[in-house]
Point group: C2
Chain length 338, copies 2
């Protein structure tokens, strides 16, 4: 059997995990037991949520233990299977971890990838967690209506860019908020937003005033910091605020303060709701069935930023929070194995 | 025609309106025009929301102008009518203002009171805005399920006490939060809450821990201050937080800060929503039809605190915010006119 390289958590970060919190270790692959399968990972995912998965507190799932392989989505090819649901040659996506190979009983697998006409990497992005999140968070909590104004934070990001495009398809005026001129431009030119704001340039409140003349009906938020504080006073009656991430908050220990939201919600009979994609695990296929045709037709565009090699994984989450990526961040493990 | 005494706003308060912000003036009643009716007000309502109605900013409706009669709910008897929908002798409830008589075109009238077997005053409390608010806010936003834990702030108040009782009827464990031992005791002994906490005594977080061993599924909030800050960390997955009032915030100018709520909402896929009873104006009869039988059977209990005379109105809102009332605060204008 080949040797398996694994990225393990070596110490618990306070805040955003850096390369120094991980190490690469090698281990022999065990022989498969009945009910198990061996997956060769081809692409590893890098997601903002991984920050929470390694932090000790204030999260929705148990943290990754120190010494464990880093939890992550990955897509790979089944090399060998003693599991009735999977056969060698199939492509599977799931919580397969930052490692070359995964030996699994099948439980971490989320879906079999059947869109073989599309790049396999998409099953971690626009047809993976990002697309599925965008689809369900927007449709169930955001509920955009034609003619409404949708504001999206981290608008050039892997989720935000899809949310904005789905909002346009739903008939909304879509205004993105992103960090830096290049991301701002991408929102408008590549993803077709009606307008986009570089929150690092100029007065954010004034820019929102200018680009949202009719107020804000849906605010899709991935930030929770001063960007949200600028949007909240502009919400309309019956606005929906979707809380999908808190990228602007470097640490929740100590717990940060901000302007109270209660009066905004009360005055506007508005709603603020957190979204966890895990609530929709049983409906992933429904989202992919909705999104894949949009990708094929070109109605839904995406950007990927792919780094090669497992060794690029440890620093990837910190890179993401530094806002240095332009598109879905992925790690490609092999270039000749699809 | 008799002289009409009216409580008018004489200056705009910053924060909670005090007696000094009002004056009583007398004016002659005009002759009725076609389409108008004359109502003799019998009971005037005193509601926490009236604070917002006289403040210049941060609200859901235009403020009462200086020099205008104070906006309020009232219930009265139709003395004379040139309006096709109303006849002399009918009892009507609506936005009739703090005054002895209202000459109106009918638009401020919310409903004709037909529960003539019950005290007329109830149409401003348990069968009025308070009961209607409790019913719709809890059923549409709180959505209590059997076995869940419902926490209610301002629990001994006109809305909170009804919310708690409706929660019990829905099969919830109901825990009230109120200010002072007497209110705490009333929640348990009169309104049948499973437990109640005096937030002024001892450690609130610890008391919540003790009385909500299974966490909090529904939080009905009328406060928005440190009480909410203590409840939020205890919410369960898919919790619903109903924002119905912000009694703990003396002023929204400058806008106060508090612990950020985003991470709580995200980690628990929870929802926080503001409730405005105006959204349900077309459904008031539905709420009364639900509540009146509960009042008749004794399943829904209420407390009233009635003051006599128009001259007690100016200081009544400040009294309410000082927490000095035990029950729905009303002003009775005449004792022999029902």
């Amino acid at each position: 059997m080949p040797v398996n390289r694994q990225v393990v958590l070596t110490s618990r970060p306070h805040g955003i995990p850096q390369a120094e919190h991980f190490a690469i270790r090698e281990s022999a692959l065990p022989a498969l037991q009945p009910g198990e399968l061996l997956v060769r990972n081809l692409y590893l995912s890098v997601d903002p949520a991984m920050r929470g998965w390694v932090n000790a507190a204030a999260n929705y799932s148990d943290p990754v233990a120190v010494g464990e392989v880093m939890r992550s989505f990955a897509v790979g090819r089944v090399v060998e299977s003693r599991h009735p649901d999977y056969a060698a040659g199939m492509h599977v996506m799931g919580m397969l971890g930052w490692q070359d190979y995964a030996v699994t009983d099948g439980k971490p697998i989320r879906r079999i990838v059947r869109e073989t006409d599309l790049p396999l990497s998409l099953s971690l992005g626009v047809l993976g967690l990002n697309g599925i999140t965008a689809h369900f968070a927007l449709s169930t909590l955001g509920r955009p209506q034609p003619g409404e104004t949708l504001v999206v934070s981290t608008a050039a990001g892997a989720v935000g860019s899809i949310v904005g495009q789905l909002g346009r398809l739903a008939g909304c005026r879509v205004v993105g908020i992103a960090g830096g001129e290049e991301k701002r431009r991408i929102c408008v030119e590549e993803f077709g937003f009606d307008a986009a704001i570089d929150y690092r340039a100029g007065d954010l409140a004034q820019a929102l005033e200018q680009h949202c003349p009719d107020g804000v009906d849906v605010y899709f938020d991935n930030t929770a910091g001063r960007i949200s504080d600028a949007v909240l006073p502009r919400i309309n009656r019956h606005a929906r605020i979707v809380v999908c991430g808190t990228a602007a908050i470097a640490s929740w220990d100590p717990w940060p303060e901000g302007p109270r939201v209660e009066r905004h919600l009360l005055n506007k009979a508005a709603q603020m709701a957190g979204f966890l994609v895990w609530d929709y695990e049983h409906r992933y296929e429904e989202a992919v069935a909705h999104l894949a045709p949009l990708v094929r037709s070109g109605a839904l565009r995406y950007r990927e930023e792919i780094q090669d090699g497992l060794e690029s994984a440890p620093g990837a989450i910190a890179d993401l929070y530094a806002g240095r990526n332009l598109g879905k961040r992925l790690i490609r493990l092999t270039s000749n194995d699809e």
